[in-house]
């Protein structure tokens, strides 16, 4: 077995004292960065990038990767306890995680998301281990037409991601897309909606948008409302993390589905953990027999996205390492760490640098086990955060958000963006517009436009391209199915509600 030999060699590399140390360091820093709202993984890795000049390439990559997937582990903490996402990829975890914490089940939620993170990451690493070359070649089947169809399917699937009116949700998606279009248009170099501002040429900062709409608005809503006295002291004890049998039963399939979706989106350059988390939540809500539980503390609503974003974190390495194509700015930094040492990533990397490739992959196991061991005892610490009086907590949260936004660009404009989206987020709360679809539209919009326009160039202006290419046609068919099913189930739901209402009166 060649594979076993490779895995053994990789494990040898990953378990060397230096590599375990840097893996631990990366995982620890990642957790820290994830827990603090506002500090993004890109900013954190950029700050630590200079370290990689002096480290061995394998060690450097192991550390940077540890930060990358560690962030996603830690990111759910603030989502659950404070209703403020630690990173944009954890925004959707707020929807059900925070209600769980309010019900005194914060410990359970933190424990179960750690399990989901580990599960999702494991699925991702197994795929990475066994199928990297296969998956890489299959990712090549995705052209612009397929990407567009996929994004469209995502938006349709996610239109009911939040409670309340689907029209309002769709309106927020559209608004999110508009915000996503701010900046320089790559296809024509026109500066759109920048109004002469240089800083806006690079677009609106995702961190600023997420932190403004979710973080600042949440702080405003909670001030003078949240008291520590309302928290049951029993619920912050470590033994309160034990899930019920029902929790476990409900968690299995969402974890499996979330990991599958996460693995898929991770391999596609350009998409990533945020999109994966949103869409797996949307799927869970759609296929659930009791969709009305979502948004009120349904455990499925935290398990699926947390499994998905961690799986996507791992499979994002597939195109990066085997095609030499980074799927995101963070992955570009990982490639940079290789290029410094003269390693050109590409299809021959696995055979020309087996030590690096297999060492890195096995380090993912080491890192994820470290994160599991690290995070479970930390739950007790985090939950106790709820005991801190809110009047001490919220200025700190605001401060971290501002520093986080500032650290992505070193430009005060990013902090102003936080302020702007804080206003927008507060207005949205007042008028009852959901934040999650806005964020999804913001992430998907620019991709949709880019791929739609390119698909039209490639098909020479023929819409039929979306239905003639087999993969795209299949996705379009599924999209149509989701639409029809959505209308059918919502009709059924409305009838049921009308009947209930009739019975009550």
């Amino acid at each position: 077995m060649e594979l076993l030999g490779n895995l053994g060699m990789g494990l040898g590399v990953a378990l060397s004292l230096t590599n375990v140390f840097y893996c631990f360091l990366g995982a620890l820093l990642g957790t820290l960065v994830g827990v603090i709202p506002g500090v993004g993984v890109l900013a954190a890795i950029s700050m630590l990038f200079p370290l990689t000049f002096t480290l061995e390439p394998t060690t450097a990559l192991i550390m940077l990767a540890g930060i990358w997937y560690g962030t996603t582990y830690g990111g759910s903490t603030a989502s659950i306890l404070l209703n403020i996402p630690g990173t944009p990829a954890n925004a959707v975890t707020c929807l059900d995680g925070y209600p769980m914490a309010q019900q005194g089940r914060g410990g359970v939620a933190l424990f179960m998301t750690t399990v989901a993170s580990f599960f999702g990451a494991s699925v991702g690493v197994i795929l990475l281990m066994l199928f990297t070359p296969v998956i890489a070649s299959y990712a090549l089947k995705f052209g612009s037409a397929e990407y567009f169809s996929l994004m469209l399917m995502g938006l349709v699937a996610a239109s009911t991601i939040s409670d309340g009116s689907a029209i309002k949700g769709l309106a927020m998606v559209a608004l999110g897309i508009l915000f996503g279009l701010v900046g320089m248009d790559t296809q024509s170099a026109a500066a759109r909606f920048t109004f002469g501002s240089l800083g806006l040429l690079d677009g609106i900062s995702l961190i600023a948008l997420a932190m403004g709409v979710f973080g600042v608005a949440e702080v405003i809503m909670s001030i003078r409302r949240v008291g520590t006295s309302s928290i049951d002291p029993e619920s912050v004890k470590l033994k309160a993390i034990k899930p019920t049998r029902d929790d476990v039963r409900r968690s299995w399939m969402p974890m499996v589905r979330g990991s599958t979706m996460g693995s898929f989106f991770g391999t596609l350059p350009g998409t990533g953990p945020s999109i994966a988390a949103f869409l797996s939540y949307a799927v869970e809500k759609r296929i659930s027999k009791t969709p009305e539980r979502f948004g009120k503390g349904a455990i499925e609503g935290i398990m699926a996205p947390e499994a998905a974003n961690n799986a996507a974190d791992q499979t994002a390495f597939i195109p990066t390492l085997s095609l030499g194509v980074p799927g995101s700015a963070t992955m570009a930094l990982m490639l940079g760490a290789l290029m410094i040492h003269g390693i050109a990533p590409g299809p021959t990397l696995i055979t020309s640098q087996p030590q690096l490739f297999w060492g890195l992959i096995m380090s993912f196991w080491v890192g994820n086990v470290i994160l599991l061991i690290l995070n479970i005892p930390l739950i007790g610490v985090w939950v106790r955060m709820l005991m801190i009086p809110y009047h001490l907590l919220f200025p700190s949260v605001l401060l971290f958000i501002c520093i986080g936004a500032y650290s992505t660009t070193y430009n005060a404009l990013s902090v102003w963006q936080v302020c702007f989206f804080g206003v927008a987020g507060y207005a949205m709360r007042i008028f009852g517009f959901p934040g999650a679809p806005l964020l999804l539209g913001f992430v998907l919009g620019p991709l949709m436009e880019e791929h739609f326009r390119r698909a039209m160039v490639l098909s020479r202006g023929d819409f039929a391209t979306f239905f003639e290419r087999p993969v795209s046609a299949a996705i379009m068919a599924i999209t149509g199915g989701i639409l029809i099913w959505g209308i059918w189930t919502s009709n059924k739901l409305r009838k049921r509600r009308a009947e209930e209402l009739a019975r009550e009166t």
Partner: protein
């Protein structure tokens, strides 16, 4: 007493207005191009148009819905948002520590209750903790103090 949902009506109107303005702006400022080679204007015009349409639907729907009480506060949001603005104004000219103190003091006022001792302690704690986390652990390149004089 209103008989329709004014809150949704205003919310819908705001979206309608944003959509219409953005569509108009994009249509006049950026070229639309052709389907085969779309210009920078086409997608924004389409999306902004959809936004305006959805805003209109929200407005119409609100007319058939009983009113809901809006939860609006003035002072807390004002203090929170000005504290962020103060951070944005302070950090490029004075450095991190003054920005920390600025945001902490102003945002604390959002409680509409001043606790001087608590506040002083919090400022001190954050001024020590933040540089540790960001400078020592993450190597962030921000000057602690950056007096312009």
């Amino acid at each position: 007493m209103l008989r329709f949902d004014l809150k949704d009506f205003i919310g819908g109107f705001i979206l309608f207005a944003i959509g219409l303005t953005a569509a108009g702006y994009a249509a006049t400022e950026y070229s639309l191009g052709s389907l085969r080679r779309m210009g920078p204007g086409m997608f924004p015009v389409g999306i902004a148009g959809i936004l305006a349409g959805l805003g209109l639907v929200v407005m119409v729907q609100s007319l058939f819905r009983p009113p809901e009480r809006a939860d609006i506060r003035i002072w807390s949001p004002l203090f929170v948002l000005s504290s962020i603005a103060i951070f944005a104004l302070t950090i490029p000219h004075f450095g991190l520590i003054p920005a920390i103190i600025g945001i902490t003091v102003v945002s604390s006022m959002a409680e509409l209750k001043v606790r001087p001792a608590n506040l002083a302690l919090l400022c001190l704690a954050l001024s020590l903790l933040t540089p540790f986390v960001f400078r020592v652990c993450l190597g962030l390149q921000i000057a602690m103090f950056d007096w312009p004089f």
